[in-house]
């Protein structure tokens, strides 16, 4: 709106400006919500809302993972397995591994066997309880279904959401 009545050519428009001020306040609210949500874990990679667990702590297979992850970032999956002392053989579903890049397995597996449905890792262990850390970098966006289990034993299923 021109303000020629005020001897001033100016494209001021208070009606539009009020909408802009309102939009700015809404935007600031969304920005704060994003920051709080990120701190709580809604954008992945840590935070109480992002932490997920599959199975029970006393079960043969118990998995800790991030519910929300980000493509291109490394996330850690912790497997707590109970089996016979000596050799622990666990598997991870192949479709899940097609969507991630396994960067690290700790302790390093002694043997890895791959078939269409799953990748089988063999870990040498002196104890009946072993904790294994899988560091994976997610390569895709969206829902990712994973299944992890002991060979000839139980398995657990969990879902991760990969953000851009």
């Amino acid at each position: 709106m021109s303000r020629k009545a005020r001897d001033l050519d100016l494209d001021e428009d208070l009606a539009f400006q009020k909408k802009e001020w309102l939009a700015q306040r809404v935007g600031i609210g969304i920005l704060f919500a994003l920051v709080v949500g990120a701190a709580l874990g809604l954008t992945g990679m840590g935070g109480p809302l992002s932490h997920g667990e599959a199975g029970q702590r006393q079960d043969p297979v118990f998995v800790e993972f991030d519910r929300v992850v980000r493509r291109g970032a490394t996330a850690t999956i912790r497997l707590h397995l109970r089996g016979a002392p000596g050799e622990t053989r666990f598997w991870v579903s192949a479709p899940y591994l097609e969507q991630v890049r396994v960067e690290n397995v700790v302790p390093p597996p002694r043997h890895l066997a791959v078939d269409e449905k799953r990748h089988v890792y063999t870990i040498q262990s002196e104890s009946s309880e072993v904790t294994i850390r899988l560091d994976v970098e997610h390569q895709t966006i969206g829902r990712m279904d994973a299944t992890i289990g002991l060979v000839d034993g139980p398995s657990v299923h969990f879902i991760q959401l990969s953000l851009f």
């Binding site: 303000r3 005020r6 001033l8 100016l10 494209d11 001021e12 428009d13 208070l14 539009f16 400006q17 802009e20 001020w21 700015q24 935007g27 600031i28 920005l31 291109g72 851009f164």
Partner: protein, 150 residues
């Protein structure tokens, strides 16, 4: 493709964040603002380039950001409403020696900032020597002195 989408996402996010910040947010860069801008740039760089540090990828990112800037400028010129949404409008904050408190408060402009602009650019001593003070689109303050004060 990935780099183009990354650039587009970052460009739009930065545009929205700076629009939310208001006209005054970056009009006067203090030392702290400058450091903050460097940090924002550093954080943005990784998101733009990803794990690809090749020259071609840098060309694609720079080309996409420049093309977006050209396209947005063209749209702003072609469609005034788009220009208002993307670039905002000027707002009068002082009229005939009176501070328009509502406008000034909402835009985060203080009386001392307005008086400073009047002193620096026109040698004005008092508020009643201001005919208009206008907060421009870019965040600067333009001052129109009264006829007596010119």
């Amino acid at each position: 493709m990935d780099s183009v989408l990354r650039s587009l996402a970052v460009y739009l996010f930065v545009l929205v964040v700076f629009r939310i910040g208001g006209k005054r947010s970056m009009s006067q860069i203090t030392t702290f603002d400058f450091i903050l801008l460097l940090i924002i740039g550093e954080a943005t760089q990784q998101a733009l380039l990803g794990n690809d540090f090749s020259i071609i990828n840098a060309w694609v990112v720079i080309g996409t950001l420049t093309a977006l800037e050209v396209v947005f400028s063209w749209f702003e010129g072609r469609f005034p409403t788009f220009g208002r949404v993307v670039g905002s409008l000027p707002v009068i904050v002082v009229e005939n020696g009176k501070l328009l408190k509502d406008q000034a408060t909402r835009e985060g402009v203080t009386l001392s900032e307005i008086l400073a602009e009047g002193r620096e650019k026109h040698g004005l001593e008092r508020l009643d020597q201001f005919k208009y003070a206008i907060l421009e689109r870019h965040g600067g303050i333009s001052v129109v002195p009264t006829d007596d004060a010119r």
